[in-house]
């Protein structure tokens, strides 16, 4: 099987992806040995595929996991980003869901996301830890501590608003 230049150049991408049959593969290989411009084009396609292929897996933003996992829940009213594209409000919960999940599995979260949202959930994270530590004081009420840490858990999982943002 022999290929003319035009036909061969059209098959370079599929050759690169190993999506050609044995005969076509051999024919493209043979043409590449002969044709400098196809070799250059092939190199260009290969490099382009590599560049696109090395894009990192996009990290879902704040509240994504909580929203996807519990689609039946109403979204945080004050935090809605847009209303319209799909005719409903879309959540803008805190990034903490991502953080919490990162703890649950492996630390997948990129530092940039943490930095952006640590300030939003930092107060709840720290109040939670403080309440946990208060358990070491002999006369604190554990039912109240449980309430406080439980509320903070919800913020950290992306399901509730940060503590300081509640309506007064």
């Amino acid at each position: 099987m022999r290929l003319n230049h035009h036909r061969a150049s059209q098959l370079l991408s599929a050759y690169l992806d190993r999506e050609l049959g044995p005969a076509e593969t051999a024919a493209v290989q043979a043409h590449l040995l002969d044709c400098a411009s196809c070799r250059a084009a092939y190199e260009g396609l290969r490099t382009t595929k590599e560049l696109v292929g090395q894009l990192p897996v996009a990290e879902p933003p704040a509240g994504f996991w909580a929203a996807v996992r519990a689609p039946w829940l109403p979204r945080r009213a004050g935090a809605a980003r847009i209303r319209g594209v799909f005719g409903r409000r879309v959540a803008w919960a805190s990034a903490a869901a991502v953080l919490a999940l990162a703890l649950a599995a492996t630390p997948l979260v990129k530092g940039t996301i943490d930095r952006l949202h640590a300030s939003e959930i930092g107060v709840d994270l720290y109040v939670r830890q403080h309440a946990q530590a208060m358990g070491a004081e002999p006369f604190t009420d554990r039912a109240y501590l449980g309430l406080t840490t439980g509320d903070a858990d919800l913020v950290l999982s992306g399901d509730a608003q940060p503590a300081g943002t509640a309506p007064r």
Partner: protein, 207 residues
């Protein structure tokens, strides 16, 4: 102490129909989320090019899965269905959005200076390297954005998510030859837009 109930009520305020799923069904939904959500988001992000739209697309996709949960066969592969939803939702979104937002095909793609590229050793080794890496990613994403949605979807499924031509053809319900030609065309456009990067990499400036 009889909690939790075997059946959780799923009353959705302001929703016309309230759905009740058993805990088994909810566990199945959770398993679907576990398995596919990251990929769906990734594809949505590479299609839309921004976090907000990607989130909307992915969340809406899973809302549809959730509503159709009873009709989803356990353990059936769902890629095909999910990517078709994402693709259709994205095209809907473009249709509803004012024209001005869509990038021109001729928009130049900025490339950083060559010497920056030479200084890009192991990504992750230094803050500078990370910033450069992020700049490159943004440039590639912008180049993707210049493709038509049809071409973009094929590149994303092939080069980002790594599916075979056959799978892509099945997902998008197009002939195999169409996948092949779209991908080739898409890569040619991308190569042109990313010219300087492609050239730099070919010369071995970057590992």
């Amino acid at each position: 102490m009889g909690r939790p109930a075997a059946v959780v009520s799923m009353a959705r305020p302001n929703a016309s129909q309230a759905v009740s799923y058993t805990t088994e069904e909810l566990a199945r939904y959770e398993a679907i989320v576990q398995r596919y959500a990251r990929h769906v988001y990734n594809v949505a992000y590479r299609m839309a090019g921004n976090e907000a739209d990607a989130r909307d697309l992915a969340q809406e996709t899973f809302l549809r899965v959730y509503r159709a949960l009873r009709r989803v066969e356990p353990d059936a592969p769902l890629e095909s269905w999910l990517y078709r939803i994402v693709s259709n939702l994205y095209i809907d979104l473009l249709r509803k959005r004012p024209r001005g937002r869509v990038e021109s095909l001729d928009a130049p793609v900025d490339t950083p200076r060559g010497e920056l590229l030479r200084e890009m050793p192991d990504p992750g080794s230094s803050p500078e390297a990370i910033i450069e890496r992020e700049q490159l990613d943004a440039t590639i994403q912008r180049a993707l954005g210049t493709l038509s949605p049809d071409l973009r979807m094929v590149v994303v499924l092939s080069d980002v998510e790594g599916y075979s031509y056959e799978e892509i053809a099945m997902f998008l319900r197009v002939p195999l030859g169409t996948v092949k030609s779209r991908l080739h065309r898409a890569r040619q456009i991308l190569q042109q837009r990313l010219g300087r990067y492609v050239e730099a990499r070919r010369r071995g400036w970057e590992p």
